[in-house]
Each structure stands twice: as structure tokens, then as C-alpha cells.
């Protein structure tokens, strides 16, 4: 039997009309933008299933654009996100599509950054404002962002995981769960590590300094009520 917080039941505070189509969409896009790691100049959204069919009526489009602009799901500027994106010179494109056998509320983000590099991230809004990111640049992953998450891409060599866990141990951060995905032995590996407490920028930087690391980002859960 699942355990609930009172704030799972009365809450979250959010911009309507739909926790899955609006709040979850904003959250997905915010996490995707964090993963992309860089100033985004163009965001294309490939919308699947229910997202493709009803995105205008639910404001899913505005919520996705808002997330790219790092707005939170309860930010009242969310409905004006197109205007804000235009002011910041960010190009926004929506393309209804079929992404195959995935959750009905799924979106693939194609995010172009200032330096010309492109990040492809796919995730679903799985209900109640909760999300699941399951593909980053073709690498299969699975994380919800509910707990503080460290996302690292590195060269798959012996001892890297132990270096990461040493840093966390020094900083007194407990690992809740951890998954490692890789292209092949000795190639690029992706680690999604969920922790029990916030992963600060200092900790992220220490992990970034491990020599096998290609890229490291921390995604901390949004703290509600900061408005």
C-alpha cells in the first residue's frame, strides 16, 4: 500500500487545467531544459497521443514553452510563455507525431542550444503532475525527478562509480537508488542517481571534476510554494 503525504492529496498548487497535461508538461520541459544544459535558442516539441490531440485545449503547448523558460508549474506567467519566449528570442515549434508504444502523454524535446549543439530528450507526464524521463540522446534512462537526481555521462572505466559515491559520502548524501546505462564496455555510460537530500552545486562540481566525466547535472525537485 502506497504511503501518501497530505500534500499529495490537497495540492499541488499549480496552474490549471490539468495536472498531467499542464503541470506535468511544464515540469517535464523544465527538467529537459536542465538536462540540455545550455542556453536554448530553439525548442521543438514532438507531441504524442493525448498530448498531440488536446495540447491546445489543455494549454500543454504553453506549459511546455514555460518549462523551457524554467518556469515552475505554479507560475502565473505560464499562460504568457509564448510571449516571454519571443522576447528572449527562443523559437518554439510544436509537431504532433506518433512516437510508438509509449505513454499517451509523451513528448520528445529537440532542444538546440546557443553553441549549435542539439539535445534530444523524451519523457512522459504520468499523472498527478509526476513525470518520467526515459530517453536522453538515444540513451535509455528512467528517472522521475521526484528525488534529487544526479545525471552523469562518463567513460565507462573501473572505479568511476566508486569515485562518485565517495564524493557523496564525504558530503553526507545518502543514495536512494542508482542506475547505470551504457553503450558498451568502456564506452559512454549514463548514471541516474537519486539521493535522499538536495545535491548542491558544490557537490555537482566535485563530481564534474572526476576526470572520466563528460557531463554532470543535478536536478533537484521543485520546492512548492516559492511564490
Amino acid at each position: 500500500m502506497r504511503d501518501y503525504s497530505v500534500f499529495d492529496i490537497v495540492g499541488p498548487i499549480m496552474i490549471g487545467p490539468s495536472s498531467s497535461h499542464t503541470a506535468g508538461a511544464a515540469r517535464l520541459a523544465k527538467v529537459a531544459a536542465t538536462i540540455a544544459d545550455g542556453k536554448i535558442i530553439k525548442a521543438e516539441f514532438l507531441l504524442h497521443g493525448s498530448f498531440a490531440e488536446t495540447y491546445k485545449g489543455h494549454g500543454t503547448d504553453k506549459a511546455l514553452a514555460a518549462g523551457i523558460l524554467a518556469m515552475e508549474p505554479w507560475d502565473e506567467r505560464l499562460k504568457d510563455s509564448f510571449k516571454v519566449a519571443a522576447e528572449q528570442g527562443i523559437e518554439i515549434i510544436f509537431t504532433p507525431t506518433d512516437l510508438g508504444e509509449v505513454h499517451p502523454n509523451t513528448v520528445k524535446f529537440i532542444l538546440t542550444k546557443e553553441d549549435g549543439s542539439v539535445s534530444n530528450i523524451t519523457g512522459s507526464s504520468i499523472g498527478g503532475g509526476n513525470i518520467l524521463i526515459f530517453d536522453i540522446d538515444g540513451q535509455e534512462v528512467a528517472f522521475t525527478g521526484k528525488n534529487p537526481t544526479l545525471l552523469a555521462q562518463y567513460r565507462d572505466l573501473p572505479g568511476v562509480i566508486s569515485k562518485v559515491s565517495s564524493v557523496l559520502y564525504e558530503e553526507n548524501i545518502n543514495i536512494a537508488n542508482m542506475r547505470v546505462y551504457r553503450d558498451g564496455k568502456g564506452k559512454t555510460a549514463t548514471m541516474a542517481l537519486e539521493a535522499d537530500s538536495m545535491i548542491t552545486e558544490t557537490v555537482t562540481e566535485k563530481i564534474r571534476n572526476i576526470k572520466e566525466m563528460n557531463s554532470v547535472q543535478s536536478i533537484n525537485p521543485v520546492v512548492e510554494g516559492v511564490f
Binding site: D3, P17, S18
Partner: protein
């Protein structure tokens, strides 16, 4: 861990001589490892969002993103203010509040999901209207939200709060059940009476399908928030008069879950049945999504 059933909840409350809201606060403090004042402050923020959402669309006419609904909360308020109503100013103001939050939600305004965005009108309308009538201080309104959450947790554990899983009975039905229980405690009723109110509300809405026109949280959702509000308020009076539920709360929740499971998928938020496939609804759908 929070009580697993209504029976266990009532027993814990009775053994410790505390209301449901006090138990819910204590459990949240343990669960979240936050301080009691922080937990209460968090709920106060939620209450303030509810106060805004339940007022906003009464003072100005708002329009939903699709253009399908809007302006009704304003109408109800005007009507209530004129003073010539059948069911009185109290019930009409409560209806206006429920409609306001629902319209704000559909217009991409800020709301507190309780338990869902689609049913976000009921709890604020019930708590704020009862609180106003009974002249309750803000802290007591916050307590009422904890009562409501406590009851909601039991429903979530044993059934579902999602329209996609259980139909509207699970969303607006649960919201109204939570709200009615909260008002009963606010009026001095026992934890057992609170759950009796929740049971009666769910029995009266059992089987309600989720059939959103064009798949949007607008028609018939907003008016179902109004209906749920009225049911929650009148049921509180019913229970405080001494009326009991022949079927206990836990069994009613179990029945609600089973009914949800028995509902065809067409009647669970997919917009493929019920009101959503009436000729007029299909016409609205076509107009709204004509560009896509």
C-alpha cells in the same frame, strides 16, 4: 505510516482522543521530517491559493482556454447578491465559489489540486463557505484541510482519486467526501461522524462517469464541482442531525473502487462516452480543435 482504513483511522483518533486533522498533522510531521509549524504553514499557503481561486472568477468574468466555459461564477454571485434565491445566500455563495475555482483552473489560473485539478472547486467552496457562516478563524480552516487530506489518503490507499481509473466518482466524489468530512469535524462532529458523511456523499455519487467534452477539464466538470459542493454541505447537516450510514465508510470506498474498475474505458476520462459523444459535444470538439 498513515492509517490504512477508515476503521483504523477512527480507532487511532479515539484511542488518542484527537480529531482526524490532528492525526493528519502528526503523521505528516513524522513522514516529512519537517517541523509542525512548517507543515501547517505549507497548508496555509494552499488555503490562500484556494481563497484566491474561489473568489477571482466571481469578481471578473474569466474565459477558459478553449472558450467553452466562463462567466458563470460571476452570474451566480450576482444572483446571490440580489437576495431572491430558492436555496438561500449561503448555498448560492458556495456554488459561486466552486464555479470560480473551476473556471480559474480552465483559464490557466493558479489553483490547488484537491485531490485533482478537475475537482479543485469543491473543497475550497465547502471549507470557506462553512468557515464564513460559522465564523471560523483561519487556523480552523487549515485544520479542515488536514481532515480532508486524511480522508483523501484513506480513499487513495484503498481506491483511487483518478478519473482515468475510477471515473468522476473518484475525483469529484472523493473531493466532496473529503470536504463533507472536514465540515463535520469543523462543526464539532466526531471522526466517526466525519467518515459517515464521506460515506454518504460517495454513495450518492456512486457510478458517476468521467466524460469530458473534447477531453477538456471544462464541461461537465465545472458544474459537477458545484453539485459536489452542495452535496458535501447538505450531507454534513444530515450527519450532524444524527443520521448514520448503514454501510460503513471502508465498504463504500471499496464499492466505489470496484465500480470504477467495472466502468468501460470509454467512461474514464477518454472522452469516448457519456456527455462527451453527444452531437453537441462533438460539434464543440470540432470547433475547438479545427486548427489541428
Amino acid at each position: 505510516m498513515f492509517a490504512s482504513s477508515g476503521e483504523e483511522l477512527v480507532k487511532i483518533c479515539n484511542d488518542n482522543h484527537i480529531p482526524i486533522w490532528e492525526y493528519a498533522i502528526r503523521e505528516e510531521v513524522i513522514r516529512s521530517e519537517a517541523s509542525r509549524p512548517d507543515v501547517i504553514e505549507n497548508m496555509r499557503r494552499t488555503l490562500h491559493v484556494m481563497m484566491d481561486s474561489s473568489t477571482y472568477a466571481q469578481d471578473q468574468q474569466v474565459t477558459s482556454v478553449s472558450g467553452l466555459i466562463g462567466g458563470d461564477a460571476y452570474k451566480i454571485k450576482m444572483y446571490a447578491d440580489k437576495g431572491i434565491t430558492l436555496t438561500g445566500g449561503f448555498l448560492n455563495r458556495a456554488m459561486a465559489r466552486a464555479m470560480s475555482s473551476s473556471e480559474v483552473n480552465a483559464a490557466m489560473g493558479r489553483i490547488a489540486a484537491c485531490p485533482t485539478a478537475g475537482s479543485c472547486g469543491i473543497l475550497p467552496a465547502v471549507i470557506l463557505s462553512a468557515g464564513e457562516k460559522l465564523d471560523k478563524a483561519e487556523d480552523e480552516l487549515i485544520n479542515a484541510l488536514f481532515t480532508a487530506s486524511g480522508v483523501g489518503i484513506i480513499i487513495a490507499k484503498n481506491a483511487t482519486l483518478s478519473g482515468a481509473e475510477g471515473g468522476c466518482q473518484a475525483e469529484c466524489g472523493s473531493a466532496a467526501a473529503m470536504a463533507s468530512a472536514a465540515v463535520v469535524e469543523m462543526m464539532g462532529g466526531t471522526p466517526e461522524q466525519a467518515l459517515t458523511a464521506a460515506a454518504i456523499v460517495i454513495k450518492n455519487i456512486l457510478g458517476l462517469v468521467c466524460d469530458p467534452v473534447a477531453g477538456l477539464v471544462e464541461v461537465p466538470c465545472a458544474k459537477r464541482n458545484v453539485a459536489g459542493t452542495v452535496s458535501a454541505l447538505t450531507t454534513a447537516d444530515l450527519v450532524l442531525s444524527g443520521v448514520s450510514s448503514k454501510i460503513p465508510f471502508d465498504e463504500v470506498v471499496g464499492a466505489m473502487y470496484k465500480v470504477g474498475r467495472q466502468m468501460p474505458v470509454e467512461l474514464r476520462e477518454t472522452a469516448q462516452g457519456g456527455i462527451a459523444i453527444t452531437p453537441t459535444a462533438l460539434k464543440f470538439k470540432k470547433e475547438i480543435f479545427k486548427d489541428e
